[in-house]
Symmetry: C2
Subunit: 226 residues, 2 copies
Amino acid sequence: MTKPCIICVAITGSLPRKAHNPAVPVTVEEQIESTHAAFEAGASICHAHVRNEDETPSSDPETFARLKEGLEKHCPGMVIQFSTGGRSGAGKERGGMLPLRPDMASLSVGSNNFPSRVYENPPDLVDWLAAEMLVHDVKPEIEAFDLSHIHQAARMQADGRLKGPLYIQFVMGVKNAMPADRDVFDYYVKTVNRLLPGAEWCAAGIGQHQLTLNEWCVAEGGHART
Amino acid sequence: MTKPCIICVAITGSLPRKAHNPAVPVTVEEQIESTHAAFEAGASICHAHVRNEDETPSSDPETFARLKEGLEKHCPGMVIQFSTGGRSGAGKERGGMLPLRPDMASLSVGSNNFPSRVYENPPDLVDWLAAEMLVHDVKPEIEAFDLSHIHQAARMQADGRLKGPLYIQFVMGVKNAMPADRDVFDYYVKTVNRLLPGAEWCAAGIGQHQLTLNEWCVAEGGHART
Ligand SMILES: [Zn+2]
Ligand SMILES: [Zn+2]
Ligand SMILES: [Zn+2]
Ligand SMILES: [Zn+2]
């Protein structure tokens, strides 16, 4: 395990608002400032969502463009990853910022339940987002909310819909989806090594599971998200 | 592996029509006749969908009632399992036949992709279907299209939303969801034994995967669906 550990900082997310936690960076300026602090502290990937002025999740390409410009200036060399997650837009809106050519973008390749709804990633939208990432040379971070998502990513790499080597993120501790279970975590790592040799992986734990997942990740040679 | 092997016959399904295969039983009378033949041949569970007159999938309680009456007459002692799958109705319609108190009904506890769409099982609908099954004393067959669905079933049994011991069906070979992968199959069995000791399990392979899955099932002590 001598490879350098990549630390990924997820600023903002799509849900928390100022009313819940006044420290959450919401405006682009606040996001740049807080990412800069994480960058100085050693984070090398910035996973970013953006917001509308009323703090609701957005996928507005202009807001993403302002964020990218600021990050490039304040955090030179940091890997910028935009979220194409389903909270911030419906259908192709979710990929409207990909022509900005961020270094990376998140990509869900399957559907699953969230705490109170279905996280919908229909096959044709997944294929369209993957194609946009190929065209604009954006490296996907595969968000694996369940085991079949790793298998689907492997099929998409095999048939050229995704360009390897892939970067997979296991997302655990999501209510009504996959819990933070160590046996599953180990099987995920085994599955990535079997189906996608050469892929890198990391893991994200939701809420109180974040630290647990970071520990497992570092122990098994994955990357960590904070 | 001395326990008796349950053979489950899935008549009709929700998709194939006469135009694709004239042998598919579509009317209730045809369904009863073909189930009777399977019953004589040793099948002990009948998993049933029903159709409208134009052969489109239905969840009409009256059609289910006619089917149940005929099966009870022609196949005495056979376990009758109704489908609450998502092709035949939206929302609570999917469980409209549960007051008929079939022996069993299928229950999906998570969402996943199907070949060309999202198979949507939102958490509140899952909970409602499970509650209906408790009220009407219907034993669920948990349709596990992905690994987290086994974990979700275990949580639902632990907190009383489902009554154990559970009966789990692994569904494999679904395009854009879980492939028919032997390593995953073995891990599914291991997971059921770990989280749900005492549960029974079977497996369904879609299309050309059916025979493969039956072989794995019989080899590992599960039940078979034909
Ligand atoms: Zn990451
Ligand atoms: Zn995100
Ligand atoms: Zn079965
Ligand atoms: Zn069915």
